[in-house]
Symmetry: C2
Subunit: 161 residues, 2 copies
Amino acid sequence: MAESRTDDDLDRFDRQILQILQAEGRISNQALAERVNLSPSPCLRRVRALEAAGFITGYRAEVDPRRLGYGLNVVLHISMDQHTPERFEAFEARVAELPEVVECLLITGQEADYQLRIWVADMDDYQRILLQHITRIPGVSGVHTSFVLRRVMPARGLPPR
Amino acid sequence: MAESRTDDDLDRFDRQILQILQAEGRISNQALAERVNLSPSPCLRRVRALEAAGFITGYRAEVDPRRLGYGLNVVLHISMDQHTPERFEAFEARVAELPEVVECLLITGQEADYQLRIWVADMDDYQRILLQHITRIPGVSGVHTSFVLRRVMPARGLPPR
DNA sequence: TATGAAACTTAGGCCGA
DNA sequence: TCGGCCTAAGTTTCATA
């Protein structure tokens, strides 16, 4: 059984490739090879190896939520009445059914158990989702809402350590 | 001056294209065309139009932070002593210099002004960043930390409304 | 707008260094 | 492991409906 690769198996080429692909996920292999000063074949081999080893987990197009009619980004902190596996499983299943939810984190802390990120059209839309969906999930005992006023910093990738 | 497009200018092809590209950002145009039942040329035209109109803002490779040696994902809620433009600008500039910060949101709420998301190697690494960088930024009057135990739900795109 | 054909570019396998 | 070569596959433009 082969050892699985970790970050310190990566050389400067791999690191550069990861950096560039995090910013430009659809760059052609030729252009990528040129940027890292390799010829196309070894460059492509490295990309495929990074994918196979799980360093790269996928490629995604980024869309502008506002263009799609989502005017309001909301962070919800949610506390549960009981910390039982059943409660958590049921909550997670219900939340996964809501298309507006873009992220759901289980977090530490006394005031919250989950942090949800959702995109909604406007305040009315938010109220609808909160009252008709979120607060009706069994076990939800408290919800704290923050609205995202602005996203600081452009999207940026994680640098290989 | 042309009207800018909004979500209700999108037909079922555009919506489908957006959905697919959010999940598979590097799918070939041919495969994409096949999936939406178009021939490659009009499909590519639509993708380019969606990019030009700002519906698609970019393409990114997704990397696995753990594979890169980041074992701990932290959510920091940060409050500022004074709510002046100077304080905010200075904070944002300092935060943008830290490579571990993957997101910074200006949010509403009495207990916090900013929400940061950072990836660190471990607790020691977290302490270092918190004490040597975050708390030293002028104006930071309070920091509340939550650790991400688990990310619920796989990465998913936003459905066109 | 869609299609289909044609010209061009890229991907990916193979091999020699 | 790299780089070069080669073939297959994909991209992109254009004429046509």
